[in-house]
Amino acid sequence: MRRHPALRDALIAAIALVVLLLIPAFHRSPAFEDYVIRVSAMALFATSLNLLVGGAGMVSFGHGMFYGLGAYAFALLMQMTDLSLPVAALAAIAITAVGALLVGAVCIRLGTIYFAFVTLAMQMLFFSIIISWQSLTGGDQGLRGGIPRRELFGFELGSQLHLYQFCAVVMVLGLLAMRHIAASPFGATLRMIRDNETRAGFLGVVLWRARLTAFVLAGAFAGLGGVLAALFVSGAYPELADWPNSGQAIFAVMLGGIDTFLGPLVGTMILLALNDIVTRVTEYHGLVLGLVILAFALGLRRGLLDFLRLRRKGAKA
């Protein structure tokens, strides 16, 4: 097993995908399906953020900008052109990657704190553009009128079941792709830069190039998450690109764990489940969420998966 980690990952992904696809055959639950659709968008987003935070030590506060850019690019392409859905989705991801390249070119040379703040500033700039460029984006009302969900190989994405299946496939493939990036020599290079950038530089690694590549890849995957989010709300809204959304991804990463690949996925699942349950019961959801995060930060002192992994290690030793 150790010798074929890629094979093992693919196997886990395949099993997870089969299970997800089989569930509706046994039991149809619209709430569960909506939950998985939302998890798929948010998990891609949070995991892509963790490529930067956990993988490269680059804490970006403005990652939501690419989530929003993906959503807007996709929704606009679907509304304004006759492109088929996968082509529009790929084009949206490409646009997001270009956006990430431009932003990254400005930010990646900055030190940790300045990097965090400049990415946040860039997000606020992007948010302001959405709000002011009304003729294109609809301003603060959002991009209205629904996304025409053109049929895709017999899939009608207006139907909840088909959207669920589509999102499950995209999420699993997306996570698998990011897992490969993290496990590749490139991923190892990023971790080396994170741990000791001087030494990495002496070993001949071109720091800015590796960081910029990571930034663009992370932006592209966040854009993919944004595409799924746009499909779910059938539109694009400025809130998707606003800074509290970046905060949500940071929470998801913190709750799930930074050093474990599936941490952000688990964090997303906790965050969204908490949101769904708590908003049903009380209007003070912010308070409950804050207490849970405090419990994680002060009690576990790390994300859930990191905590469990360390405990297992501790038990073995």
């Binding site: 619209p30 009302q141 009128g145 629904g146 709300v233 400025p238 769904d276």
Partner: protein, 412 residues
Amino acid sequence: MRTRKIGRRTLLATGTAGMLAAPWVAGAQAKTLRIGMQSILSGPIALLGTSSRNALQMEAERINAAGGFLGRPIEFVYRDSKGQPQEAARVARELVNSTGCELLIDAEASSGSFAVQEVVRDLGVACIHTNSETSSLTADPKIRVPTAFRVARQGVHDAIAGSTYLAKFATDKKISKWATCSPDYAYGRDTTAQYLEFFKRAKPDIEVVTQAWPKLGQADLTEVITKLIQAKPQALFTLLYAGDLSAFVNQGNVYALFSQMTVASPNFDYPVLTAIKNLPTGIQSATRYLETFPDNPGNKAWGEAYRKKFNEYPTNWSWQNTVAMQFYEAAVKKANSLDGKALAAALTGMKINTPFGVDGTITMRDDHTTINYAIGWGQTVPKPPYITDVKPADWGRIVELETEWKKEQHYI
């Protein structure tokens, strides 16, 4: 030992009784008709949701006392969307798919209501938007949805009514130099432009000497106020609202702004009027909701009942939600069904008697939006009723200009 045995038996008996009774209990629950209501119930604009919810609570009591809908008592399920569109879409789907709501009241503000609109398009359930004033929600045929309706004031109606009133006011008082001061985002800029357009159509000789755009929630308005005073306009038109508007009046009082120009705004409603320390006399204002306009016993009694029950004044959102339930009540009776399509057919073109209509009726027009609701303009006085000498708007004129506007937008 003995007591223990009895305990077990008691348990057995209760259990059996419970099992036997279960179908009845379940039956009773299924008989209740659940209506989903979503809005912003937390954060700085929670009043939107809470004053809507209050009104719906009163309606539920009234309707249940009269036998409910189709003989079933109604029950509201309230959900907070926090004003986030993706959350609004999720909540709408959850209310219908998981909570079993058969009707929807969407009390979201702007962007949330557009997200709900798309969910309703997919689900085909009946939905009434009660708080979104953005005209395109129903006016644009691309955005309109077969089973979704709006029971609320609409931006374009207010703009026409307001500019018609202000044009006459300006002619009578010989006012030609105007300034504007509105919040710096889509609503403020678009709607100001729309008011000015209709205003200039009615009175071509007006001149706009300065325009100020304070940020939403800006605490210190000194700079804005001094800029307005220095421009020396004869009158000021403002679309500031809620906390921003009361802050503007309170700070404007310090600079004696209200003695130097006539101020006009469509946005003085009870929450604002009661938050101002010294309300100046003679501000020209529309009535978003007023107990004394339309001046009829039904409106007065409703306003008083609301105040008595919740110890605060009702808002514009309160009457809109009330009328939405009155429409549902009439439509369910007429269609004898809760099916989205049947209700849509019943609601389209429906006219109901209600104290909130300008002549005692409100009509749901074919384009799924209400007309003939109360729009009036009057002037402020420092004590209740706060706005006096209210002149009702001419709905014939509103519909005429609205039709022209729709043609210009290529909606018809």
